[in-house]
Amino acid sequence: MLDTIEVQNEDFDMSALYNALRHNNTSNGAIVTFTGLVRDFNQGHNVGELFLEHYPAMTKISLTNIVAQARQRWTLGRISVIHRIGRLTQGDQIVFVGVTSAHRKDAFDGAQFIMDFLKAEAPFWKRETTEQGPRWVEANSDDSKALTKWER
């Protein structure tokens, strides 16, 4: 099973990604997708632009490991993970996760697991442009707490 894992500057086409998950895939009765967007307000500041830095040699390895862990826990069909880097503005798409499965529960859980681990472990860092100048986005402690629900 080939997973689609991409780290790219370019925007992505949500409907094309959805169709790739669906096309010739009659064994799967569920598709769950998540899309993350740039908000206009974060941590008490109005946000103008966002710059996403990453660790190029590690990013894809990290995402691939997260997807592999999800596959060990649930019976999943196709998986797509797209994460953008570079300069982004309000309303832009940042991240896409799409998971298919025979039934909805595995697809829901798999997609949420991938997003939770991506937020806590994948080596991306956001720098925002605000009215007070550029600032590095601080990590949200809820993101690391979110992993505890997957402990077993």
């Binding site: 830095e53 660790y55 991506l118 472990e121 080596p123 991306f124 860092w125 590095w136 990590a139 949200n140």
Partner: protein, 95 residues
């Protein structure tokens, strides 16, 4: 301290390691990459780097500073070998 500018993965095939810094750490330390003599483990590397100044010592001592060895999240006990790539970075904020 033995140190030279790094072009590509210059540490490979020598008794050196490559050390990278990302995000806010890269800016605070004003350094994105170093090539250093190989040391035994991450803890020993932190001791070498802490000699560069107070800001280095503070950042490397912080619980929130993460370390990856050869692109895998690691810890102070992780052993190091010639040619290894070690990265220090702050908590991640993608997604």
């Amino acid at each position: 301290m033995a140190e030279k500018p790094v072009i590509g993965n210059e540490a490979r095939g020598t008794q050196m390691i490559n050390v990278l810094f990302f995000g806010q750490l890269r800016e605070q330390l004003n350094t994105d990459k170093l090539s250093l003599d190989t040391v035994s483990n991450v803890k020993a590397l932190k001791i070498v780097l802490a000699q560069r100044g107070v800001i280095w010592r503070d950042i490397l001592a912080s619980d929130s500073t993460l370390v990856a060895v050869n692109q895998i999240i690691s810890n102070e006990e992780t052993t190091l070998c010639d040619g290894d790539e070690i990265a220090f970075f702050p908590p991640v904020t993608g997604g």
